[in-house]
Symmetry: C2
Subunit: 204 residues, 2 copies
DNA sequence: GTCTATACAAAGATAGAC
DNA sequence: GTCTATCTTTGTATAGAC
């Protein structure tokens, strides 16, 4: 089960990825430099190039790790039989709430979306893949919940998954500008209400 | 009625704003340079500085003009008595559809949202103001439509306006990455459905 | 693996001629 | 208003010592 599909990486490389991920989420890809990482870790810019030859490579590595981490968690949650579809949905919301609790973090892909046409080609593919995978996963959860009678969805679950995903990403971005955490909570609350069949939201 | 609250500007300045607006919508603020404008207009970088001393000034001017243009149109539409609330809503969608019809354009503020923390302070205020104004306008339309019986909204119209706005902004960003125009249409279709009281969508 | 040093290009910005 | 020329800073990236 723990088949370690992730390449082992040096401790420094991992720290660079950590800082880089954070920097993209807070400042976007074009908005940070190797100097920022250098400052954060106390190592020289040249040392970063040893681990990641180009900024493009670094960006791709950050995206890859981010996607693997989230999508592995999604796959595990989905495969855990105790989880109801409501559980899965609430589970999916957690990182959004985590980011919204910070003053300046958004989803990695959400941050990159604004500068999409300026990104290296491989990063563009990864961002598009991220969007696709998350919406597909959400659609699967909604479809299963619809069939089980957990969710009240008259029409396309694929469509609903798209709207939910768009709203979550949009809410994070708008929230960061306004500082109002309600921006995200409203999205979650509205969808909880829309998807609830009887009118009461029962998670257990 | 036509009280011209917009400062008269030279023809070149206006062209610079046009190109700059386009560049931000396609490449974001950190993703374009004075050189890009220089190339597009066939004038030298120094000439641009004559019209807009700093990039910060240019960005602020672009944002100001963009907001005024959209919000003036929204105010006029709102004040036109023939318009139903459905009309107003469909009217609000039009620029989103326009952007979605291009390969690489998103909302100006949506583009800036991804790099928000790196923006000059005055631009940050304008982006936040844009988000606030648009959501307030949408909430007003939804509230009026709710009272008139045009819209089926059980709960907070403010909340619903937020979710709709988030979803529209998110959809444009995701659409640009995937190229799938459906990303935006799904949002519009779902909200048309949700807001329709009888189940049929009657715009007249 | 990390450092110093440096190359190289691009960006924002200014001075001053025309 | 636009130009040429130039300055300054920053950013990505490489070479080579340790």
């Amino acid at each position: 089960m723990d088949h370690k599909c992730v390449k082992p990486r040096s401790d420094t490389a991992e720290k660079i990825l950590d800082v880089g991920e954070n920097l993209i989420q807070t400042r976007s890809f074009n908005g940070f430099s190797y100097q920022d990482i250098s400052d954060a870790l106390g190592i020289k810019k040249a040392s970063i190039h040893y681990h990641f030859a180009s900024k493009s490579d670094l960006g791709a590595a950050i995206m890859t790790r981010y996607r693997q981490r989230l999508e592995a968690a999604m796959a595990i949650a989905e495969g855990t039989s105790e989880n109801s579809c409501w559980d899965l949905l609430e589970f999916y919301f957690t990182p959004y709430f985590q980011y919204a609790d910070t003053p300046d973090k958004v989803c990695l892909s959400g941050s990159l979306a604004g500068e999409f046409p300026t990104l290296p080609a491989d990063m563009q593919k990864m961002v598009a893949g991220f969007f696709h995978d998350h919406q597909t996963w959400l659609a699967k959860v909604l479809e299963r919940g619809k069939i089980h009678g957990e969710f009240a969805i008259q029409d396309s679950t694929v469509q609903m998954a798209r709207v939910l995903f768009d709203a979550l990403q949009g809410a994070l971005l708008v929230k960061r500008a306004s500082g109002e955490i309600k921006q995200l909570h409203d999205v979650v609350d509205v969808f909880r209400l829309i998807l609830t069949p009887t009118g009461k939201h029962d998670k257990a």
